[in-house]
Symmetry: C2
Subunit: 554 residues, 2 copies
């Protein structure tokens, strides 16, 4: 897109949108607001934005002592803790790039990301050291490891070297820091998508991106200083969907539950009630599990006034109704992606639709992904790229454009065709837009499997299965699962001579060299033939229909 210069303005053009501004603002205006974090041992840690800001400044200062300079990439593997919240501001504010790494990556994927990004230092929470240790031999650029722990450094057992203590580094630094006035188009942070084409792809968010997204998010989700936001979305996912930045910007109370698992949701609920949480966000699988735990309580906690933003995939109607009817809580459907920095649409009610629609129609509307947020352009196009009508019926690929949307993947020229000439990002999602501007997703162009909020690439898995010498053909599809949303099923055609000689255990073992344990298919079925479409492509739609119930029993 050509950028056209007009008449010069008289404003302070050297004033840049920087992430340090957000935490400085929180400390200045909301210094006494609380941040509550849950330690590894389950005990609460409490401090204020003023306290946090002092430590953020210490952190930024400690980076220079470490030898980090403006532009350095620093990897982060951390849970939803107060230290991670400090890192969210301290690393980008200093001019370095915070590269968020998914602890569920395989060692190979992690090593790839480290080398692709050129990461110089890794900040890792103690619980994630095993994965870092496994990847370390592959990491070519790393010069040191900073460990987030309550323990003394000498008590942390690890092969990583050189190692530093996060807490010692902060203690040794001074409690104030002179923030550099960073060009706002500089990268503040990065996330790598597990993607569909095998290698993770890097999305590098500028300071401007994240600042604008935080302000837009707080405005569209109406987050204020009166709110208490609990960070359920892992902070290694798309900047935690931007909620840590949006909540800090408006001085909302923050609750950071540390590491949690689907088995420990009662603890999460206890915190939610005790800290008077009013806002959270998560994928349907976690929110559904949370609802199940809530329903088993007596009495069921009153969550009226609590909004749960729900994205990643469509929240089932039964879940949305379950929240409202049993707890008073409200599910707000949202849609986004790593490439669009989490939020493209939010399903916010309109006064006139609230007046006009019946209750059933309002529920139906809540299932839509929502309205496009201010600042973004979204269009739906046919396979020729022609823009389609917004009539709520016509379906096409969804393209997104805007100040915080990806313009290109980092150092991945082969992905050029995911961007249009007029500056749009091809989401790979398919849907319609109605006359009121509500987006409704119907499908994905690519066959990604969504399990517990994480992606599994069916194409990658098929390719890897076929790499096994006994295999002729394979198809992998995602099928509905009551707990994980979707789980992979693999159909495998063996060579004649291998039939009855290779079992599914062997296929799983083969896959586990390249895939994390949670990504492995629950079922491997040996078949004589893979269903194909008329043009010879695997007919995934048909496979899904045939096996739709396979995991529904749970």
């Amino acid at each position: 897109m050509e950028v056209i210069k007009g008449f010069p303005a008289t404003s302070q053009t050297s004033s840049q949108l920087n992430l340090a501004t957000i935490i400085r603002h929180a400390a200045r205006n909301f210094g006494r607001q609380e941040i509550v974090s849950r330690n590894q041992d389950g005990t609460p840690f409490r401090y204020t934005y003023a306290d946090a800001y002092e430590r953020v400044q210490r952190l930024a200062g400690s980076l220079s002592s470490l030898g980090a300079v403006v532009g350095d990439r620093i990897g982060v593997l951390a849970s939803n803790s107060y230290r991670n919240h400090e890192i969210y501001f301290g690393i980008p504010g200093s001019g370095a790039v915070m590269v968020l790494m998914n602890p569920r990556f395989t060692a190979k994927e992690l090593g790839y990301v480290v080398n692709h990004s050129g990461i110089r230092f890794i900040f890792a929470e103690e619980e994630f050291l095993p994965i870092v240790e496994a990847a370390a031999p592959m990491c070519e650029t790393v010069q040191g490891y900073v460990i987030l722990t309550d323990k003394k450094l000498e008590d942390v057992e690890t092969s990583l070297s050189p190692k530093y203590s996060y807490e010692d580094s902060l203690s040794n630094a001074v409690p104030s820091y002179d923030w550099p006035n960073l060009d706002e188009t500089s990268a503040s942070s990065a996330c790598y998508t597990s993607g569909t084409t095998g290698k993770p792809k890097g999305v590098y968010y500028s300071h401007r991106d994240v600042y604008l997204q935080a302000m837009m998010y707080a405005l569209n989700a109406m987050i204020t200083v009166e709110d208490c936001m609990m960070q359920i979305v892992p902070m290694f996912h798309v900047l935690g969907w931007g909620t840590p930045y949006a909540a800090t910007m408006v001085g909302a109370k923050l609750v950071l539950p540390g590491s949690y698992s689907l088995d420990g949701l009662d603890d999460l609920i206890e915190i939610l009630v005790k800290e008077e949480v009013t806002l959270s966000a998560g994928v349907p699988s976690i929110l559904r599990a949370l609802l199940n735990s809530l329903l088993q309580m007596d009495p069921v906690p009153d969550l009226s006034g609590v909004r749960f933003l729900c994205g990643g995939s469509e929240p089932p109607l039964s879940m949305m109704k379950g929240y409202r009817e049993a707890t008073g809580g409200e599910i707000v459907h949202t849609y986004g992606s790593t490439e669009a920095q989490a939020i493209v649409t939010l399903n916010v009610p309109k006064p006139w639709l609230n007046r006009e629609l019946s209750e059933d129609e309002r529920w139906k509307l809540k299932k839509k992904q929502g309205q496009i947020v201010v600042g973004l352009d979204v269009k739906i196009v046919d396979t020729d790229g022609k823009e389609l009508a917004h009539d709520g019926e016509t379906v096409g690929e969804i393209l997104v454009r805007g100040p915080w949307v990806l313009g290109k993947y980092h150092d991945a020229p082969e992905t050029k065709d995911q961007f249009t000439e007029d500056g749009y990002f091809r989401t790979g999602d398919v849907g319609s837009i109605d006359t009121e501007g509500f987006l409704k997703l119907t499908d994905r162009t690519k066959d990604l499997i969504k399990s517990g909020g994480e992606w599994i690439s069916s194409v990658d898995m098929e390719n890897e299965i076929v790499n096994h010498p006994a295999v002729l053909e394979a198809a992998v599809v995602g099928l509905p699962h009551p707990k994980w949303e979707e789980r992979p099923l693999a159909l495998v055609v063996l060579g004649q001579e291998f039939k009855k000689k290779v079992d599914n255990k062997e296929i799983i073992e083969h896959l586990s060299r390249c895939f994390a344990k949670w990504q492995l298919p629950d079922e491997v079925l040996f078949v004589d033939e893979i269903p194909k479409t008329s043009v010879g492509k695997i007919d995934k739609k048909l496979i899904r229909t045939q096996y739709v119930d396979i995991y529904e029993a749970g």
Copy 2:
């Protein structure tokens, strides 16, 4: 300020923050939301954001037909009407600069602004033609006049030439427009301050400035699609304080009352009640007059849930209490300037202060200008430029820095000393900041009275005089005194029923509850009217000239 480049990000750097985006967004997401405008004859005009957007596109298209190109400056003299709201988007969106002109300017001032800005076209509402006609002979650069009227062009009597009809131009244009992707640092609009140094000074707002300010404003004032915003602040004042942009961004219902006068406030109240207004903004003089009209009604309208942002000068406590007690309406104190694009602080309650403070303390807090909004840096400095403590006591000059703050006046090198080397704008205001971040203005640097080496705050004194139940308005100035350098003089306007019943002794007695004996004014004069500037502020320059000799006799 040096700008430091970091690691490159991967975002769409060609995506610019443009004002056309705001109205496009409103039409897309809130197309059915209503805009209500009051015609000159008092009848209402109603349409929607979708309708408005069609006309905005026609307007942008008509500018090309007129011969206007990107970067052209276009003067605007218009009331708070739907046409002005269209102009707010159509002119900047096309790439031209909307130069807002105050119809209360003298012909000479207007001519100066036109020539200084190099204005090519003037858009003027019919009622303001006399002032444009008076200035026209001085205007060297103007090539045409577009008249905003319901009449046919041939029925408009004017000496201006060539003249065009706004409505005809729109009818002749097509209902869609391909917006240019303007560099966001380009000027979108401009305001000229009447200032104190004689010549008006030009502040040229970039698209980025206005977009960021609108988003920040909507977020900080918590404006949503559920709101109905009535535009009381004249739209030629600092972009109407930004409310037209903020309200449009979130799809709030808009009420544009056209031209109104202090004598016709009953009409304004009728609209306010009928359209269910929830948000408005104005200076204390209009809000006080509005309150007086409200109090004379039987029953007094219920305005609970209505917020009135009040800026320009400090709202008297009696007025704030009057609104709450008699109507349920809430005054929200705000502070800003043309140079900082209207909003620097907003007095938004904090939950912990609401819990801790007594009612009296909360009222006292509401009198403060409020908390600095996100994105701006504010510091208070002594006469050597040294930063002062934020202890709520220490008083210094207020400096402001931020993305939408003035970096220099347009083509006015002689004003260079109003900016610091580290990029701050010197507001000329004096005040303190407390530990909770609330700014409290005590004075303008030029409005402080220097008596025997000590300072007396004329603003505090004015506010205290106005707290006397008999007083409508007051002005306090320092005048030359042979012994004390300066001594205060108070001009007081009494309510009709108190005239000749209250004497200066009573005013002095009233003041002595709050002021030291040496601070009390030597003279209190009762007058029928306080001299005002074209923007409605007390004209202290004029008062000083009129009474310059009053103490010189000694």
